[in-house]
Amino acid sequence: RISPDSSSTVITVDSYNTTTWHDFTRFLDAEKGSRVSGMSELKKYFNRFGYLPLPDTDNLTDVFDTQLESVVLAYQTNLGLPATGKLDSDTISMIVLPRCGVSDTKTHDTRFQATKR
């Protein structure tokens, strides 16, 4: 939020936003093809909720690649958000919200698998 009486930009951080996933706000509007430090953590987030089934998450890169773009699209569809494929404010605002631990889509883990009707 830019306060009217000062030249500096005042960033308002909700006090609860100092917890899990708050760091993801720095990916806001990251461009496809860009490399942003820590984006591998965002990929781990998507892996956790069933969007990026991987044998392990040790070799994830910090690049906003085509795979991540399609993951973002799937997430936006599952969460009823505008399907832009971009890390726009609607999407980032939803990612940082607390949530249920059950995954949103099919995973290889039968206990948490889900499919849309």
Binding site: W21, N78, L79, P98, V102, D109, R117
Partner: protein
């Protein structure tokens, strides 16, 4: 609405009666067991009003169909919790019955009486996770109880049409249930 893969549900002779119990050793100490029972009874009754399924609390945790506990971090099911906020709880698809809440959260019975900015409404999360226990996965409808995210200090306990359609497709409709009552509440929600 959505289902778990393979559309699992509880297979019981009608009328379906499911039992639930609370862990003897994994509960939170700042909310009394009495108050916790009251909250969960209300949460279960919301689902029981729309489907021909009844829920009964029993003492014996190991033999209950649905087993509820509060746990910190890694609690042995391969899905560790993560501290304050982040993941709030999870539950397993039928007929597993495990229902785990993150003990690191600040659980609230009444958001009016608790000041914390990270307070999470226990009844809202309980109602959501019971949907998973019954076989519902996450919904893309933002007002639905089965939507995956819940903002702190927010209460969301009233089943929406999306939740009801989904669970009735699994278990049928409670003969005493009328959609009109639900539409009335949705209309008031929309007006709000």
């Amino acid at each position: 609405f959505a289902y778990f893969y393979g559309k699992p549900r509880w297979i019981r002779q009608a009328p379906v009666k499911l039992t639930y119990a609370f862990s003897k050793s994994n509960m939170i100490d700042y909310i009394s067991l009495k108050d916790t029972r009251t909250v969960f009874k209300r949460a279960f009754s919301r689902w029981a009003q729309v489907i021909p399924v009844s829920f009964m609390e029993i003492e014996d945790y190991p033999s209950a169909d649905i087993r509820i506990g509060f746990y910190h971090r890694d609690h042995g099911d391969g899905k560790p919790f993560d501290g304050v906020l982040g993941v709030l709880a999870h539950a397993f698809s039928p007929e597993n019955g495990r229902f785990h809440l993150d003990a690191s959260e600040t659980w609230a019975l009444d958001l009016e009486t608790i000041k914390s900015s990270v307070a999470v409404d226990l009844e809202s999360v309980a109602t959501h996770e019971i949907g998973h226990v019954l076989g519902l996965a996450h919904s893309a409808v933002k007002d639905a109880v089965m939507y995956p995210s819940l903002r702190p200090r927010t209460k969301k306990v009233d089943l929406q049409i999306d939740d009801v359609y989904g669970v009735q497709a699994l278990y049928g409709s409670n003969p005493n249930f009328r959609f009109s009552s639900l539409l009335a509440s949705e209309n008031s929600l929309n007006k709000g």
